[in-house]
């Protein structure tokens, strides 16, 4: 044996001893220990939940400067350009970086932002905004009426028709001209009286003309600025966006409202709503929206305060009303639509599926709206017997298989919603059972969200679909219920056509008189409660978890994502 071989052998011997020692450890004991620990930890968590309460915000302490907040959510943002964005997550981060002409309070009242005041002409066609003086962009340049004009031009001026703004449809229809008689005045003339204009279109984050003004429309679509807005006018300025991970924004010292208390605000992207709850518990995030199903799991966590309030969001299902579609003939009779709604125990649904964190709906307008009518003409308390007798009277009688039929056609259809939304999935599962109980054969089917959107706006071969809709401050619901939106691309994919409703909606849009509008929307709610083309199941609640170290947040129905006029006042007690 050579020397090298000897050395090799010694090396091998050492290795073998290592393996030996390692392999003789008691694997089973360890595995058992781990299993016991896992079982135990489940119990401990339950125990902890039982013996803790939630704590309240401390209002007496003095404000500390500095520190950061990590806000968690489960969708990444798509753009930071206020005129390109159409999704909640992007708008939320844009709200940190940019201020529009106006902002809104949590009850929906429009309040000054970049514009310190505004006047509406007596004919309702012209809005004159007076801007604050001395406003500066975060790079020190002055913010003037030109910037405002440029921002709106992106979405209405034909010169920018290649700019992919989702706002063009509305703005190019209603804006006639924008004039800037002086650097602090913006005169906006509309083509016709359009009541929601101020509330819906006054709040887009203003974009810097001195940065973007020289680019053409096409180049703006993919401008670096959209992902990296170096210059902004909101309480914070952009620091970085690690896609799929987080967006970091930092204090903007030149903010017209005064520099915010915090140094940094971080928007962190998490895998799902369970992760949001978990990380609220561990303190990895300070703020996050809570899923109704996760509400109780935070009861034991003393570091997280929860706030809950109704929001202008409803869940509804829609019947296929186009008689040329396979299921269309089933739902032409109003009695069938009403009977099916009577058969749903919506209070129990809210309790079981939303864990009580939703309000049963009687009207198509959300309770957060000034136009809300609590008791419209027809109400639908759960009444199975009534549902059955209505169907009997309408000629839908039970066959030998227990399924109702009329003239050889069975009351049998498929209900679609998007996969991955637990509340909607559960709702369909319950509806299948509830309708089965009255002799209706409804089958749930879950499809991916893009397919659902396609079905609603374009293909429209569905029988029944279920989704949620998120409304803004204005009570206008023409997008969903006006017959002009039955065209391809419109959201009235269930083909609801009612001349009276069309007339009321048009009339309500064409007047600025709120009393008159309220009365019109009252009529609208009455008719809708009778027609029920798309019954509203419930109004959901916004639930936010906030770490107790965070002070000064004030979430509310209209101050959830994009609009948070209190941002600059938020501070953290530990200053970290």
């Amino acid at each position: 044996m050579s020397r090298e071989e000897d050395a090799d052998d010694r090396g091998f011997a050492q290795f073998e001893r290592f393996l030996d020692a390692w392999s003789r450890r008691d694997f089973l004991k360890r595995a058992g220990g781990a299993a016991a620990f896992m079982a135990f930890s489940g119990g401990v968590v339950e125990f902890l939940q039982a013996c803790a309460g939630s704590s309240n915000n401390n209002t007496t302490a003095t404000v500390k400067k500095g520190g950061h907040i990590v806000e968690g959510n489960f969708t990444d943002i798509r753009t930071l350009n206020s005129m390109l964005s159409s999704d909640t997550a992007s708008n939320q981060v844009i709200g940190l970086l940019f201020d529009g002409l106006t902002n809104q309070k949590k009850d929906g009242t429009v309040i000054p932002a970049v514009a310190e005041s505004w006047k509406t002409s007596s004919d309702g066609l012209t809005y004159t905004f007076k801007l604050r003086s001395g406003m500066k962009w975060s790079d020190g340049q002055a913010l003037t009426a030109d910037d405002v004009k440029f921002t709106y031009a992106l979405a209405y001026d034909p010169a920018y028709k290649d700019f992919a703004s989702p706002r063009r449809g509305d703005l190019s229809k209603y804006i006639k001209s924008i004039d800037t008689p002086d650097p602090l005045t913006v005169v906006l003339t509309t083509t016709q009286v359009y009541a929601p204009f101020l509330a819906s279109h006054g709040q887009y984050g203003i974009l810097p003309k001195h940065i973007l003004g020289s680019m053409d429309a096409k180049a703006l679509n993919t401008a670096d600025y959209n992902n990296n807005p170096t210059v902004s006018n909101g309480p914070f300025k952009f620091v970085s966006w690690q896609k799929g991970q987080q967006v970091t924004v930092g204090r903007n010292d030149s903010y017209y409202g005064g520099a915010p208390n915090l140094d940094q605000w971080i928007y962190k992207v998490l895998p799902d709503s369970v992760a949001v709850t978990n990380q609220l518990k561990t303190g990895e995030i300070d703020i996050g929206p809570i899923d109704p199903g996760q509400y109780d799991s935070l009861t034991g966590t003393q570091t997280v305060a929860r706030s809950e309030f109704p929001v202008p969001t409803f869940t509804f299902y829609a019947y296929q009303l186009d008689p040329n579609k396979p299921a269309g003939p089933l739902f032409q009779d109003k009695a069938v639509r009403q009977a099916l709604l009577f058969a749903l125990d919506r209070n129990s649904m809210n309790q079981a599926i939303y864990f009580g964190h939703a309000t049963a709906a009687d009207s198509v307008e959300p309770p957060t709206s000034w136009a809300y009518k609590a008791k419209p003409q027809v109400l639908y308390p759960f009444n199975k017997a009534k549902a059955e007798s209505m169907l009997d009277a309408a000629g839908w009688t039970k066959g030998t298989d227990g399924i109702r039929a009329k003239g050889g056609t069975k009351l049998k259809f498929t209900m679609i919603t998007n996969a991955g939304n637990k509340q909607r999935e559960s709702s369909l599962t319950y509806m299948q059972q509830a309708w089965h109980d009255i002799g209706v054969d409804a089958t749930p089917s879950l499809i991916q969200f893009p397919q659902l959107v396609s079905q609603i706006v374009d293909i429209r071969t569905f029988d029944v679909f279920l989704v949620g809709f998120n409304w803004s401050v204005d009570p206008d619901e023409a997008a969903l219920f006006h017959s002009r939106n039955t065209v391809p691309g419109g959201f009235n994919g269930f083909d609801f056509k009612n001349e009276q409703v069309d007339a009321i909606l048009d009339q309500a849009l064409g007047t600025l008189d709120q009393a008159k509008r309220k009365q019109l929307y009252g009529q609208f709610q009455d008719i809708m409660s009778d027609q029920v083309p798309a019954p509203i199941l419930n109004f959901t609640h916004g639930i936010w978890g906030v770490n107790t170290r965070v002070q000064g947040t004030d979430f509310g129905p209209f101050n959830q994502y994009q609009f948070r006029p209190w941002l600059k006042n938020v501070w953290v007690t530990d200053g970290k």
Partner: protein, 308 residues
Amino acid sequence: MIGPSRVAELETTGAAIDTAEGRPAQSYWNESWQRLRTNPIGMIAGALILIFAVIAILAPVFSAVLTHFQPQSVDLSATFRPPGGAHLLGTDELGRDTLTRLIWGGRVTLGIAFLTVGMALTVGTAFGMAAGYYGGWIDDILMRLVDTVLAIPAIFLFILMSILIHPTPITLAAIIASVGWGSVARLVRGEVLSVKQRDFIMATRSIGARDFRLMFRHLLPNVLPVLIVAASLGVGQIILIEAALDFLGLGIQPPTPSWGNMLTNAESYFFHSVYLVYFPGVMIFVTVLASNVFGNAIRDAFDPRLKT
């Protein structure tokens, strides 16, 4: 998640069986069976799979006689019942009976697993046998096709196909099998190539035996042990793949129960009702474990050199 089938491939090739007639002798099967029988753990694992399969087939009977609930029957007044009483294993967030759903979920999950294995083995064997037997340009074309299939990033295919084809148990099985058959084809081809070299095939050929007769009477029985092992190991892998797809929201869609979507669903209620998590988790774990243990046991039985 797609890797392990290749492990089976690498581990089992070369387990050739030499017999005089060109088919594994009866005694070879007998001996293998004897060896398997003396492996108690392997036998228990096999028995477990058999029992689960029987329960799954008889799900409607169990539902009618044992649990008295249907998997879809919702009762909002009896949600989150802990195990015991009328609901032996408790109820979920919609008041559905967990035991009933577990039985019906097993029907779906195991059904998909067996169906997938069946499809992948059938297609893969056909391709592998044809390629290995004929050789030449047929082999070239068929194996390039297999290469292409194996080169598609499986997860994209799963995602896109799950969106395209609404996932039902049968379509989901087809989707998973459409990726899995490639490695089976390679495995079979390799085996056929090694068997083909032997004298008896040449002899049979020279006396004018027809191709199909040759393939089915002589080649297939030789490939069979490898296929049985691959099938047994495959069941476990496919259950895991299916559970992963359920987790990603691309698998079996609620309200149809499968163990994977029951487990995914229970995740939200971990702190609320932890028992919802136990049952589907345990079923997946035990079944996959049994499938792997049984697969290993069969392999050891077929190829005694690996075990002394």
